[in-house]
């Protein structure tokens, strides 16, 4: 197995699998032993088998473009990302702590707003929040939980510290790819699963089902659970259908459901109307219910909010949960954890500058060439400025945007995010990656074993989003050597 030593020579980021002497780290040693046991062209053959498998399994995502929607095959790198169990368990504890605090925070914002009255969280931030839903004020969903499913993006900096990059609390996607990546690996490299103790990931659908079932308003009866999708043209449609299939849930579109004057949600079946107990919605708040939000929405179902407010249906994530999925709110998470749990954060936040605070804004404007600037409410890597790579004109344009709407922007130093060896032209070359674990909360907390590793397939690129040319790897959490 040939290492791209030339690329590694000029490389200063932390590598997940290799130490600075380019020797495998302890957790990755069995993987490298295995890779070295493979014949030269064996890996190339397996690589082809991977492509054929993914094609046959039809693991795809959709990209919007001017030429229409293109169904692309999920780009997959066969070299897994490996992490020791001990390190992972500490991260897992941090993820659960974070979501627990965020849910207390959201419930507080929609009710007493103690955190504002106590001066820990500024009222202005809430006032200008694009994702705060006044329609949700005064509601406490079951267990006080709003964000039942959270996809947390983690990156590792040069010195090995793992940082939380953002908390996706609206409709985080990617978990199906995490599950399918493991299926593909098992088909292509069955031998390595015998020699390495890789922890399984496949309990997620069961955990998700149990979490959703716990939200059912009809206790004691088998709940009718529906996954609400915007439809086949959504980029994550594959995932919606996959999760419904795995859970034995109904995959519905907004027009498949109606809400009666009895404020109960029904779906249209071949024998008439049937009550729905829990909706795992994969459409944004704005489109959920045209009676309450965007009246032009054809994706949602009129009356859903009525039914939810009455407690006649469980909705995950709850409408309005996105208020905490905001890059400005993000900067307050350490204080939020301290305030509600009286604990020190286990996972670090990336140091951030808030453009709404004059002093910090001036720092950001003066250092645009060194910083990454992000809008508060965009996802998928859209609308951000990577200062060191932008042209002076682009930086000037962005400075203008920031001055116009300071609340909408925050900035962070450019992290040198970690890499892992990735198969490029027959060699293992360093490519940057992140990790998105998924965390569930209802009456209990759960976090996936590992998560979805997304990798920027282009040399030097930091953009891992699948919509912008990113790929993914299987993520192995392995038992640490005794």
């Amino acid at each position: 197995m040939e290492l791209a030593r030339d690329e590694y020579a000029t490389h200063s980021a932390y590598d997940e699998l290799l130490d600075h002497a380019l020797q495998p780290r302890a957790a990755a040693q069995p993987l490298f032993d295995y890779l070295n046991s493979l014949h030269e062209d064996e890996l190339a053959k397996r690589r082809q088998a991977v492509d054929a498998t993914i094609m046959a399994m039809g693991i795809t995502f959709t990209v919007y473009s001017e030429a229409g929607n293109i169904d692309r095959v999920w780009p997959f790198d066969p070299i897994p990302r490996v992490m020791g169990r001990k390190e992972w368990e500490s991260i897992q504890a941090g993820l659960k702590q974070r979501l627990r605090a965020l849910n207390l925070f959201i419930n507080d914002l929609y009710n007493e707003q103690r955190i504002i009255k106590d001066g820990v969280f500024p009222a202005e931030v809430l006032q200008d929040s694009a994702n705060f839903r006044p329609q949700c004020v005064g509601i406490t969903p079951r267990f006080g939980v709003w964000a039942h499913i959270c996809g947390t993006d983690l990156v590792r900096d040069k010195d090995g510290t793992v940082y939380v990059l953002e908390d996706n609390l609206r409709v985080p996607s990617g978990v199906s790819y995490m599950l399918e990546n493991r299926q593909v690996m098992k088909r292509i490299f069955p031998e390595v699963f015998r020699t390495t103790n890789i922890l399984p990931v496949d309990d997620y659908p069961m955990q998700l089902y149990q979490m959703l079932a716990s939200l059912s308003p009809r206790a004691g009866e088998q709940p009718v659970i529906a996954v609400l999708t915007p439809g086949i043209y959504n980029s994550a449609y594959f995932e919606h259908s996959y999760l419904a299939q795995q859970m034995g849930a109904y995959l519905v579109e907004g027009s498949d459901m109606v809400v009666g004057a009895d404020d109960i949600v029904y779906m249209k079946t071949i024998t008439g109307l049937q009550r729905v107990d829990v909706i795992y919605r994969r459409i944004d708040d704005a489109f959920l219910d045209p009676e309450v939000f965007n009246p032009a929405s054809v994706l949602g179902t009129p009356g859903l909010m009525r039914a939810w407010r009455k407690g006649n249906v469980g909705i995950a994530n709850a409408p309005g949960a996105g208020v905490a999925d905001d890059k400005v709110v993000y900067t307050f998470v350490p204080q939020i954890i301290k305030y509600y749990l009286d604990e020190a954060p286990i996972l670090a936040n990336v140091p951030s500058y808030l453009c709404m605070l004059e002093e910090q804004r001036e720092h950001v404007l003066a250092n645009l060439d060194k910083l990454v600037v992000k809008p508060a409410n965009e996802s998928g890597g859209y609308g951000m400025l990577i200062g060191p790579r932008a042209t002076p004109e682009e930086r000037e344009q962005f400075a203008e945007l920031i001055r116009k709407n300071p609340r909408n922007y925050m900035a962070q130093p450019t992290l040198e995010i970690s890499t892992a060896p990735t198969l490029v032209d027959g060699r293992l070359a360093p490519r940057h990656l992140d990790l998105r674990p998924f965390v569930l909360q209802s009456d209990k907390l759960y976090a996936t074993t590992g998560g979805l590793t997304r990798v920027a397939m282009r040399k030097g690129s930091l953009v891992v989003n699948s919509s912008q040319g990113g790929g993914s790897k299987d993520t192995w959490i392995v038992e640490d050597a005794a």
Binding site: D262, I264, Y266, I270, T271
Partner: protein, 330 residues
């Protein structure tokens, strides 16, 4: 309990797969019979488009009906919704919306069939030899899919809807293939004509994989009246219209609130059994087949109304109901 939209997609998926297979069969047997045509007899390629009821659409895009243009039209033309490629693509799109109700391998099988057709459609148009091999492969993959359905799917409503789609499409195609005979103008020379008529009937039976069965169950020689009766009425042959209708009756019997549909289907089968086939000339056959296709269309419409728009019948629950009513659970 099944979503009305899902039910519709299952039904159409099955119809599209069946249509793709039937078209592949039709092309293979026709190509085959051409090799044996007597001197002085010619075969009009446009007949193939007529059978599928697509002659108008064909004439819009293609200036001339020859082997090449007809093959393009029936195999790979995306603008023809009944081409093999289009049918397989629709079926795949349908399946994509159905993954949660189908066995997990189903998507992989149908996706593989789609990828196969996409890759080989052009070669099938260009060369007779390759066409035969490729279309046979399409038929075999379809058989594997049907096998997967019956062998791994729970025999629930979803299964019945797939079976319904398959059988109504099959019945429809059998009537269309029969109609071919009224569309052909035979030459005046009586010797040539007789040979040609029998040839065409053999090809017809062959395209339905019925030739061997016909010889075993009916007669060695293929005569029009016998062949018509066989393809319309013989309950033993799985592609006869009566057999397909009987399969549909069985499906309806297992489906909720299906009494009207059961009656409609049984009645049509009864009428077919009583219809004399002995004296049908080309014109009468054509008229009779038109009638049959209309009646199959009525069953199709009633099925759509009964299942895919079922929820519209029940008015929305009122404020008093409080969800205590269970709707039409059977």
């Amino acid at each position: 309990m099944m979503l009305a939209r899902v039910a519709g997609n299952l039904y159409w998926m099955a119809r599209n797969l069946e249509r793709a297979e039937n078209t592949a069969r039709l092309i293979n047997s026709t190509t085959h019979v051409l090799l044996d045509l007597p001197h002085g007899a010619t075969f009009g390629w446009s007949n193939l488009a007529e059978i599928a009821g697509l002659d108008d659409l064909f004439a819009k895009t293609y200036p001339e009906a020859n082997e090449e243009s007809i093959m393009r039209f029936l195999i790979e033309d995306e603008t023809n919704p009944s081409s093999i490629f289009a049918c397989v693509r629709y079926a795949r799109e349908n399946t994509r919306t159905l993954r949660e109700v189908l066995p997990a391998e189903m998507w992989e099988r149908i996706n593989s069939l789609y990828l196969y057709v996409r890759q080989h459609a052009q070669a099938a148009c260009n060369s007779r030899r390759e066409r035969y091999i490729i279309l046979n492969e399409v038929i075999q993959q379809r058989h594997a899919i049907v096998g997967l359905f019956s062998g791994t799917m729970p025999h629930d409503d979803a299964y019945q809807l797939i079976k319904l789609g398959r059988n109504i499409e099959r019945a429809d195609m059998t009537t269309r293939i029969l109609d071919l005979h009224s569309a052909i103008s035979f030459p005046d020379d009586s010797v040539v004509r007789e040979a040609l008529v029998e040839r065409i009937w053999m090809s017809t039976l062959e395209s339905l994989s019925a030739y061997q069965t016909y010889r075993r169950l009916v007669a060695m020689h293929v005569r029009s009246n016998d062949a018509i009766r066989f393809l319309l009425q013989d309950m033993r042959f799985p592609r006869s219209v009566s057999h397909c209708l009987h399969e549909m009756e069985n499906c309806f019997r297992l489906m909720p609130k299906s009494q009207q549909l059961q009656q409609l289907t049984a009645l049509l089968r009864l009428k077919i059994a009583q219809h004399a086939t002995a004296d049908l000339d080309a014109v009468a056959l054509h008229e009779y087949i038109d009638l049959l296709q209309m009646q199959l269309g009525e069953i199709h419409d009633a099925l759509l109304q009964n299942y895919f728009h079922a929820w519209q019948d029940g008015a929305l629950p009122s404020a008093q109901a409080q969800g205590e009513i269970e709707f039409a659970q059977q």
